[in-house]
């Protein structure tokens, strides 16, 4: 999806398989996360994104695996995550 430089979007899902996908998610691109497109490199590729407080460089092909939307995640999503992410002592 074409996001202009300076645009801010939110991750809805991450496609792809295996190592690349795992890496993309480990770098913070998971559903619900806010991503800002900072710029494209002078030669067109890769993209510079700001995600979870730091700058990430990603090629357009990999970025294509991440589906995004301009709409922030609905509040309905948040409780699900919070319910899941509980840390408790055994």
């Amino acid at each position: 999806m074409d996001v202009p430089a300076g645009g801010k979007v939110y991750v809805t899902s991450v496609k792809g398989t295996g190592a690349i996908r795992g890496r993309i998610m480990a770098m913070g691109l998971v559903p619900g996360t806010a991503v800002e497109v900072v710029r494209r490199a002078p030669l067109g590729d890769p993209l510079e994104l700001m995600v979870k407080g730091y700058n990430l460089s990603l090629r357009a092909t990999e970025a294509g695996l991440v589906t995004v939307s301009f709409a922030p995640p609905t509040s309905g999503d948040v409780p699900d995550k919070a319910a899941g992410g509980k840390v408790h002592e055994r």
Binding site: S13, V14, T17, G18, A19, I20, R21, G22, R23, I24, M25, A26, M27, G28, V30, P31, G32, T33, V38, R39, A41, P42, L43, G44, D45, P46, E48, M50, K52, G53, Y54, N55, L56, S57, L58, R59, T61, E62, D80, K81, A82, A83, G84, G85, K86, V87, H88, E89, R90
Partner: protein
């Protein structure tokens, strides 16, 4: 604590994301008591060291920096393997406190190992400066692992860290579990299956194995394949929607991370204003690449010109030493051994030391400042076209100075294929040692066109490098090029100390590798040139000339005679000795001008085979030391020999073409 426990060293594994100052912390903790080795199968170095604190000996192992422990590449597997198999007493994660959210992802995974943990919240000077405040106690309570503020570059927080390490060794790890919501049923089902194998579940935590299986981790899979339980587990896994499972896992981890951050971090808004402002210029649409070009030029000018007086000094020093030895040592053969052999050998390595040191200094500063990441970012598109990636640009460019540190710097490329292709292509970037050969022959045979001819050499080198990369990518390493997922760290001011330490490390490594190989090579040549006894050094009667004459028929189609063959043999060891060797062979040892005249006078040499010779010098193995470093970085005889063979073959073919086609046309 009884006396026995006091004897046991405490073994600590140091891990964390790249760019968090882990090496600085490691250096600060272990100082000079370090040892650099190798992980099996991986080219990342294994650093271990120790320190005495409060009567205990604490041993540290520096694990490769990773963003996640799921074995996507060797680096991650090595880390997992170490923690599981060598079972350190404590795992210390170095966290970039100014970048908490992403760093904690690794923390979540580490917690699942169930080992005592300590978090070194590094870079805390930045966070404090930004006005953010991290509540260490809250983090400690939430995660069940002591969180200690550190600023490794200034050596702050070390004692608190060591205290925390000693504290957790004696206590059992706080058992924290991350709840995975909907995935829990699956996890528990997998656990049940795993626990049927009592042997493996006594060794490895079953819950951890279950989550890893969902994530398709190769390490855990490897442990279970072939066991009884795998017969049940495998079909179960294949029916799982693993993509979704992975996402759930990541999702939940970040959920926990959000909680930790919310609890402990006040005012944690990311402010990268200074770095962003700088990037607006340095990665600018129009200015970015020109600025990179001038930085590159500046780096080269410095390495070539600034190091010159020191190189000349060393050269002169060795010449003096050689001369003194020749005069005062008897018998003559001993003097020759010492002067031509040993001094010559050691000299040809040391003479490049200032060059290497300056290059490593500059590289270290660019790396520590964060600019190199920008270079990779700028160059990626171009590199991708030829089958490489952004990070390959740096070694390739460094190759113009010296191939050895260039190949060593390929360590920063994580993907094995990318790294290998880069290593195979770099030797064709014409290094500074080849320049004297060009200058000699271009000057002798092309007079005012000399500059252009030399430029053409460089061009040929670059073209061959590009073609090699493309060929390797399409023929040998088929399949998708690796993904380019790289962090662009904020700009930092390189500390003199950290740059100094890195430079020293690398320079030392160069000395070791290049030094030993060149020394042996030069000794071998000396022996061949001095025997049989009493013969003129490198003269027609010597063994090396005999070898040259044997090779002569091979190089005849290239238009070379035995002298050139011998010079090429010299060049195989190190290009630096080619010109000197030619001086001996032509009996024109007084000066380069004398040699130039001698070359011009030689009727068998003309423009065409001179051009062929220069091209041959360009393409075949830069020097034995390069082969040594290639072996060091690839740890594979196959590839090292391939590189040597490919270079020679290419050199031969092209020189052949030049002579056979060009000879009749131009000679």
């Amino acid at each position: 604590m009884n006396g026995d426990e006091r004897q046991h060293p405490v073994r600590v594994a140091l891990c964390g994301n790249p760019n968090v100052g882990k090496s600085s912390l490691f250096n600060a903790l272990t100082g000079s008591r370090q040892h650099v080795g190798n992980w099996p199968g991986v080219t990342v170095e294994r650093k271990s060291g120790h320190r005495f604190y409060r009567d205990r000996r604490i041993e540290f192992v520096d694990l490769p920096g990773t963003y996640s422990l799921i074995a996507a590449a060797k680096d991650e597997e090595v880390a997992t393997q170490y923690i599981i198999e060598e079972s350190p007493d404590v795992v210390v994660q170095v966290v970039d406190s100014s970048n908490l959210e992403r760093n904690l992802y690794l923390t979540m995974q580490l917690m699942e190992f169930g080992k005592p943990m300590v978090l070194a919240m590094n870079m805390s000077d930045i966070t404090e400066e930004r006005g953010d405040s991290l509540d260490m106690d809250a983090v400690t309570r939430f995660l069940g692992a002591p969180a200690v503020r550190t600023v490794a570059s200034e050596g702050k927080g070390l004692e608190e860290l060591l205290d925390a390490i000693l504290e957790v060794v004696t206590k059992p790890p706080a058992d924290r579990r991350i709840g995975y919501g909907e995935l829990e049923t699956t996890i528990n089902e997998l656990r049940a299956m795993i626990e049927r194998d009592s042997e493996i579940s006594s060794k490895l935590p079953s819950r951890w194995m279950a989550t890893r299986l969902i994530e398709n981790d190769s390490y855990v899979k490897g442990k279970l394949v072939g066991r009884q339980i795998w017969k049940d587990i495998e079909p179960y896994l294949s029916k799982l929607d693993r993509d979704n499972g992975e996402m759930e896992l990541a999702d939940n981890r970040y959920g926990v991370i959000d909680e930790v951050v919310a609890l402990s971090c006040k005012r944690c808004k990311s402010k990268r204003s200074v770095s962003d402002k700088m990037d607006r210029v340095l990665v600018n649409q129009h200015l970015g690449i020109p600025i990179f070009l001038i930085m590159l030029w500046g780096a080269f000018e410095l390495t070539f010109s600034a190091a010159t007086p020191f190189m000349d000094l060393i050269d002169a020093g060795f010449a003096e030493l050689g001369g003194w030895l020749a005069d005062s040592v008897q018998p003559e053969w001993l003097a020759s051994l010492l002067a031509d052999g040993i001094i010559g050998g050691v000299g040809s390595v040391l003479i490049f030391l200032p060059n290497i040191i300056v290059m490593f200094l500059i590289l270290g500063m660019l790396e520590d400042s964060g600019y190199l990441a920008r270079v990779a970012f700028l160059m990626d598109r171009l590199m991708n076209r030829i089958g490489l990636q952004g990070k390959s640009a740096i070694p390739l460019m460094m190759g113009f100075g010296c191939n050895i540190p260039a190949i060593m710097s390929t360590r920063s490329i994580e993907d094995r294929k990318d790294r290998l292709i880069t290593i195979m292509s770099t030797p064709f970037m014409s290094c500074s040692a080849r320049l004297p050969v060009y200058i000699l022959f271009a000057g002798a045979f092309f007079s005012h066109m000399a500059g252009t001819i030399i430029f053409i050499m460089y061009l040929i080198g670059m073209i061959v490098a590009i073609v090699t990369a493309k060929l390797l990518r399409t023929l040998v390493f088929k399949g998708e090029p690796s993904a380019f997922i790289m962090e662009l760290p904020p700009y930092r001011l390189p500390t003199l100390w950290s740059v100094g330490v890195h430079t020293w490390d690398r320079a030392f490594m160069y000395l070791k590798k290049a030094g030993t190989i060149i020394l042996f090579g030069v000794m071998a040549i000396w022996a061949l040139a001095s025997l049989p006894y009493g013969v003129e050094y490198g003269g027609e009667e010597s063994w090396i000339a005999a070898i040259g004459k044997v090779i002569e028929p091979l190089v005849e189609p290239l238009g070379f005679d035995w002298r050139i063959a011998v010079a090429l043999l010299f060049g195989f060891v190190a290009k630096e000795i080619v010109v000197g060797g030619l001086m001996t062979l032509y009996g024109a040892g007084e000066s380069e001008d004398a040699l130039t005249d001698a070359l011009k006078a030689d009727s068998s040499l003309n423009r065409v085979n001179a051009f062929g010779l220069m091209t041959f010098s360009l393409l075949y193995m830069p020097c034995v030391a390069t082969a040594g470093v290639i072996w060091g970085e690839t740890r594979s005889w196959k590839w090292t020999l391939f590189s040597i063979g490919y270079g020679i073959a290419l050199a031969y073919l092209i020189a052949l073409l030049i002579w056979q086609v060009g000879g009749p046309l131009f000679a």
